[in-house]
């Protein structure tokens, strides 16, 4: 699959033209528009065995933006992003119906190689998962051998990815120590660096801070703010403040359905749906 690195939909002017002011609330509908979407799903349905985790999700995800997926445990938010890079099917008994378009390609078309797709759509998991037998540097560069690539400028790639992940200054003197020897927050940034080193167009983050303390969480959030300039991010979080802080758009999932989707400001200031309001005001979840 050859996908150019241009972002045809990522023009700044297009985004700013879509920002409307309504009753003093800034509204931006770029992410909701089909023509501005980098990912579009249609009737996306997912199962684990006989348990249906997603019930027909239609959503457009904007290029060059941060989209947060929120919702209570078991609402299908993790399943949703795992469908986007076809990691859902790695679990035995899991299956998917409906379609996901990444640019013009149907991700679930029979001729799509999920291995190649995952090189475009990287992923960071809930629990930091550095490879225990590898050093910090080998962890950052793990994508190279795993993709069968042999590159000469390894140092350069490692440094760039670690700088992008705001980890370079903390680990530059201990690059040969095991990846598991650093703190949990550092390990998670190491995993982000590892995902960035293969230069994906989209980064999926599945509750990346749920195993971290508040300080480590703040660092990851700062990092998301920096990364949004170069990469499209879709982040699953159960932390509503986090969604409000880091994202441009927020989607609220409940019981496998997409209940509400709008720009983050609207979502948190004036939700349309009463279930969304109940959730974000803490009445359930």
């Amino acid at each position: 699959m050859s996908i150019s690195n241009e972002h045809p939909y990522m023009s700044v002017t297009a985004a700013s033209n879509d920002a409307h002011t309504e009753n003093g609330i800034r509204r931006d509908y770029t992410g909701l528009r089909e023509d501005a979407a980098l990912i579009k799903t249609a009737g996306l349905t997912a199962w684990f065995g006989s348990m249906q985790a997603l019930k027909g999700i239609d959503i457009n995800i904007a290029a060059g933006k941060v989209t947060a997926i929120i919702g209570p445990s078991g609402c299908g938010k993790s399943t949703f992003i795992r469908c986007l890079n076809r990691m859902h099917e790695v679990v035995p008994g899991a299956r998917v119906e409906g379609s996901i378009f990444y640019r013009e390609h149907n991700v679930y078309a029979p001729n799509v190689n999920p291995v190649m797709l995952r090189r475009q759509i990287g992923m960071v998991f809930q629990k930091p998962n550095p490879f225990p037998m590898m050093s910090i540097k080998e962890n950052v560069l793990a994508g190279l051998p795993l993709q069968g690539k042999n590159t000469t400028n390894r140092d350069e790639i490692a440094e760039r990815a670690l700088r992008q992940a705001a980890l370079w200054d903390e680990v530059k003197d201990v690059l040969d120590k095991p990846g598991s020897s650093i703190s949990g927050g550092q390990q998670q940034r190491l995993c982000i660096a590892r995902a960035l080193a293969i230069e994906p167009e989209i980064l999926l983050m599945d509750e990346p801070c749920s195993a971290l303390d508040p300080i480590a969480t703040a660092k990851i959030e700062d990092l998301i703010h920096t990364l949004r300039q170069t990469i499209t991010i879709i982040i699953v979080t159960h932390n509503m403040q986090q969604a409000a802080r880091v994202s441009d758009y927020t989607a609220f999932f409940y019981m496998g359905e997409l209940v509400e989707y709008s720009d983050t400001d609207t979502m948190f200031r004036a939700p349309h749906n009463s279930r969304t309001e109940d959730y974000i005001t803490g009445r359930f979840g």
Binding site: V115, L117, F131, P132, L146
Partner: protein, 302 residues
């Protein structure tokens, strides 16, 4: 009605204390017996080395304690054991590891749950059956490809011994690979890796100590295995690395003397304790290494 306070001060019942005592005795017996075996082995071995010097034992290249011209060089027996062990491991490693990789990475859960017990049944076949399998099937089969293979040789029994150890290697390696956290497997796949590369670069290295432990336990089984080699490898202690000719392993020698008419208490008879001690030291070393590696995986990884 009895009060609850009265209950908590009641003594543990006599039966319970009796059962604890009986169980403790059973546990103690196994330790005492092991200690006894080691003591006898050590005592008899000291007696042997009182009559035969260490240099004769370790430097001589002939092993002829049962003949008039006696030599006590351990190396012919060592060479026999090493040869059969080598062929066993050359068989068991690739076979066992392949089975382990298939079961843990590729087989659907249903097939895994069905196949694993079957493979473990292989480990329950009496070794005497394997011995005759080597003598009457494997060696004649190999003779079709290697015409000058003798009826007793180290190759055939070595391979059969490998088949015997394969379940140990497969089962323990499979445990090690299966216990690699799914998060690492997913981490590798999410980086755009094929399953094979994930296996090679992440999963096998992570499971390495467990796989190594399974190899070493298999090795220790091969070194100590007796029946197969006693039946099919011959009883000729010659210092050779030729897999086609009859040899004698350390274990087969012990069988030969124990079953033969060598009188107790003689120098000839005490040789088996010296050889037994050697075996004991070798297998103990391997088992300790395997134990260390297993502990390492229990601590490590997660």
């Amino acid at each position: 009605m009895k009060t609850h306070e009265a209950d908590i001060f009641r003594k543990r019942s006599l039966t319970e204390r009796w059962i604890a005592a009986v169980l403790f005795t059973c546990a103690a017996v196994s330790i005492v017996v092991t200690a006894g075996i080691i003591a006898v082995l050590l005592f008899e071995t000291m007696d042997f080395f009182g009559r035969v010097s260490l240099s004769d034992f370790f430097l001589d290249t002939q092993w002829t304690p049962l003949f008039a011209d006696k030599h006590f060089g351990i190396w012919p027996l060592m060479a026999g054991t090493m040869l059969t062990t080598l062929f066993a491991m050359l068989t068991a490693l690739p076979l066992g590891l392949s089975i382990a990789i298939f079961l843990s990475e590729y087989a659907p859960e249903r097939i895994r749950r069905f196949l694993k017990p079957i493979i473990e049944i292989l480990a329950g076949i009496p070794t005497v059956v394997y011995g005759y399998f080597a003598l009457t099937f494997m060696t004649p089969l190999l003779q079709k490809f290697i015409p000058d293979l003798a009826g007793f040789n180290s190759l055939g029994p070595g391979i059969v011994m490998g088949i015997m150890i394969t379940p140990i290697v497969a089962s323990l390696s499979e445990d090690a690979i299966y216990s690699v956290p799914a998060s690492l497997r997913e981490g590798a796949l999410a980086l755009g890796s094929t399953r094979l590369r994930a296996l090679r670069h992440v999963i096998l290295p992570t499971a390495f100590s467990g796989i190594a432990a399974s190899f070493i336990l298999g090795l220790s089984r091969a070194v100590g295995e007796t029946m197969i080699v006693a039946i099919a490898a011959g009883q000729q202690p010659v210092l050779t690395l030729d897999p086609r000719v009859p040899i004698e392993t350390m274990t087969a020698y012990i069988v030969q003397v124990s079953l033969g008419d060598t009188p107790h208490g003689t120098l000839e008879y005490s040789t088996i304790f010296a050889v037994g001690s050697m075996l004991f030291v070798i297998t103990l070393t391997f088992n300790l290494i395997a134990l260390y590696l297993k502990k390492k995986i229990q601590r490590g990884v997660l």
